[in-house]
């Protein structure tokens, strides 16, 4: 199975830049997910790989074959790229039976009738629809259509499998089941796959690596752990999972080894030292886009709710002396089954989301102490370049 490489791929619709210089590679057998909010350019990128959208610049290489190169004027039409694709609406042709749908790519490749039959039956078996080949495709349920779409995309052993939000039209239960099926199937066949979704949970559980996109630009490429634990930009931090972003207006002391700053909580002043390995620098223009229109802060401190420990007013938790201690008052509490979510106000401008196990119970209105380990924090520094 070949790998795929996009180099500086761009797409402009008039003055709108849908995809701005996307550069990425997916290794042989890898499942790479393009993740981002709607309008971030992920679907456009996928469609450009498929050949359904003509890029405005850059190149696409699949294996050792260049399928698009703006500079050299190469543009292989969609039907010559040899890819399999599962569409968001499945795009099961209503005027064909299940078997005819699956056999279509083979027919286009001039495979003889007997050979088609055999391969289609194998695929039906693989996706668990054995015996349904002669059924009109309009009589299938959503989940079955999904499987037919997958069978059709796999039957001719494509160079690459593209999936455009394939689970978004299924109900929640089925979606979860199909998510695992898809993953196992892709690994079994050993196929390189590019997967587009706006659902971060789907992305985190399915992918070998994620590509997080926003406003047509790639924000971060990394494994699910990378992206969740060490978000490269403010956008990624806020888009993936829950998080607290504490804007620090001024008073940050930048040093080569790290940064020092102070956090005020009630009467308490906490000294925070962030090592340079936890500092991320990003252009001001991007930082501004994620701070609701206010002035760009000197820096922003990020911490996940589950990384904050909550203790009642006297005890300060079990963490080491290194931990940052903050005082606050619980202003909201929600029970979420296996854990509880708190909203804790630490000063007039800032409240933090905190997640704790249910064996600690703190009522609303109580004074609490929060402690955060320095290694669990990431500091974002806007830069002018």
């Amino acid at each position: 199975m070949p790998d795929i490489a996009l180099d500086n791929l761009s797409k402009r619709f008039g003055t709108l830049v849908a995809v701005d210089g996307a550069t990425l590679t997916a290794a042989d057998g890898e499942l790479l997910t393009l993740l981002g909010p709607s309008g971030c350019g992920k679907t456009t990128t996928l469609r450009m790989i498929a050949g359904l959208e003509e890029p405005s610049g850059g190149s696409i290489r699949i294996g050792d074959r260049m399928v698009y190169d703006h500079a050299r004027g190469i543009d292989v039409p969609a039907e010559m790229r040899g890819l399999g694709m599962v569409f968001q609406t499945y795009a099961i042709w209503p005027h064909m039976t299940v078997a005819e749908n699956i056999a279509y790519p083979l027919r286009m490749r001039h495979v003889r009738r007997a050979g088609r039959r055999e391969l289609v039956d194998k695929m039906l078996d693989l996706v668990g629809l054995a015996g349904l080949g002669d059924k009109p495709s309009t009589l299938l349920s959503g989940g079955q259509q999904q499987r037919v779409a997958l069978a059709r995309a796999l039957v001719f052993e494509p160079a690459l499998l593209l999936l455009d939000e394939p689970l978004s039209n299924l109900d929640a239960k089925l979606r979860e089941q199909m998510r695992f099926e898809l993953r196992i199937m892709q690994q079994r066949v050993g196929l390189t796959a590019i997967y587009v979704t706006h659902d971060q949970e789907e992305a985190l559980t399915l992918s070998d690596r994620l590509v997080v996109m926003n406003h047509g630009e790639i924000e971060q490429i990394g494994t699910p752990i990378d992206v969740y634990e060490r978000p490269a930009t403010r956008f990624v931090a806020q888009f993936i999972g829950k998080g607290n972003m504490i804007d620090v207006a001024s008073g940050v002391d930048w040093q080569p080894s790290g940064a020092r700053l102070t956090l005020h909580s009630g009467a308490r002043v906490a000294e925070v030292h962030i090592p340079s390995s936890s500092i991320r620098t990003e252009p001001v223009r991007k930082a501004a886009a994620t701070t609701n229109g206010g002035a760009t802060p000197a820096a922003s401190l990020f911490v996940r709710p589950e990384k904050i420990e909550i203790g009642d007013g006297t005890r300060t938790g079990t963490r080491s002396q290194q931990a940052v201690q903050l005082a606050g008052r619980v202003i909201g509490r929600a029970y979420v089954g296996n854990r509880a979510e708190y909203l804790v106000m630490i000063n007039d401008a800032t409240s933090l989301k905190v997640e704790a196990s249910t064996d600690v119970t703190v009522g609303a209105g109580r004074e609490v102490m929060l402690s955060i380990a320095p290694e669990d924090m990431v500091l974002y520094r806007p830069s002018l370049q």
Partner: protein, 586 residues
Amino acid sequence: MSVLTGDAAPPRGQVAASFGVLRTPLVARLGIPPVVFYALLAVLLAVLVLYPFAVLLTSSFFTGQPGRLGSFTLVNYEVWLTSWDLLPILFNSVVYSTSRLAIGLFFALLFAWAVARTNVPFVGLMAWMIPIPFFIPDLLTAFGWLMLGNPQNGVINLLAQQMFGIQGPVINLYGWGGLIFHASLNTISFMFLMLVGFFKQMDASYEEAATTLGASKLKVMTTITFPMLAPAILSISLLVFIHGLESFENPLLFGNPGGVYVFANEIYRMLSYRHPPEYGAATALSVILIVVTFALLVLQWQKLGGRRYTVVTGKGYRPTRLRLPGFVRWGIFSLFVIYFLLAVVIPIGQIVFNSFFEIFGLYGWQYVTLKNWTNVLNNARAMNGLKNTIIYATIAACAVVVIGGLVGYIRVRTRHWLGYVLELMAWAPWTLPGVVMGLALLWAWALPPQPFNLYGTALVIIIGFIVKGLPLGAATMQSAVHQISPELEESSRVHGGSWLRTVRHILAPLLRRGAFATFVIVFAIAARDLTIPLLLYRDDIETLTVTLLHYYETADMGTLAATSLIQLALVMTLLLLDRLTREKEK
């Protein structure tokens, strides 16, 4: 998860060799960019649509006649714009259009609202029968009513004379009364057809919101339902008004004998009843009519452009029906019965009845005969007309399906600006009244030197039918393309189907239904059209409608009746076929 257990991974190595090679599509090999095809189509449409427009406009500034342009002059317009002659035509047209619109709107709203939103009796029957008059050619019901209500020997007048000894006509359909009466019958049906969908599809939650806030059901109707539908109602009203300005059959048959002249029959009068025909004045009047129509359409766009279909969300759940008191329910139902009698049963009944009598007005048992039928079936002229109508309408309908399909496809699927140009050109003939179109085609195709001179050939009538059917045909094809998710085609492309094979295997089968519906619509429009063949025919290429008019003008009522029914059967057969295939699809 059971799906994935077992050893079912596709055996890659062994079968790979059996996959054939994908071939580069022809178009790609030739290196022709698709825009070339768009441009070619645009040229075709320009020749069909814009060229006659342009010739008409040009010739309105010349003294000549079709075939001979003459010299430049402004006298054609001077005739109209410096005298009072235009005023009565304009006045009559506006009165005619307004009154048929007012009557049509009132009854159409009543029926549509009753059928969609109330517990009126026999709802299904009403919903099915009210649209029928629209599908019956105006010409036929007009003949039926004229047999009944013309002042000299109308059947009603004859009966009154025989039974009650009344001298003079009790009913006179010549002139204003008959004109507005008969035109309204068809308008009600058409407007009902357009409106009932809006009433049915309107999202009930808007109304339910008002109900929860304390509005009574009647209050909801007046403060929510009708105001929200106002843009749609206004839009349809303007359409009907414009159609009133250009309608021809009614003014010709009811207006002429009563001395009522509107644009259409005035233009026709100057071409056919004057010797020599006044081409200059007729052409100038046509241009004036186009300007008026176009101004109205621009008005419609400006006023309603942004908020046309906003209320229709199509969620598809049934709003509760308003419970009307008994006398209102049955009152509305009686109105429907009366309407259907007037619009269909009485006029068509009269024609059927008359087709079995040799002499018009002499209805006694001893005069019953099948002679009219045998005459018609052996009549070369009627059979020739029938044959021509079928051939021309079929060719035109096929052409519109293809052209409309291409225009719709380019418009819906590509972002190319030529798509908008094509759509606009396909829609443009909508503003061209039939008579004007006939005149324009006369100028356009009788003027050029051989071999482009098509006057007197079947081709010019077919071109006329294509142009006439194009606006509705292209719109229908466009909506058919619109209903096909682009992913169905993209899926074919990605999985190895070239453009051409995608069209063949995916697009064409999926469009079959819409294409047939378009064919039926255009065929029906062409088969019932009188204006285009009337100005363009020559003996052996005359269509059935022209034959019918000939029988009417020579007062050959028996033959007229039988031929009318053949015409009716033709249109109805097709509609039935359309209905049947639709049922089968379900």
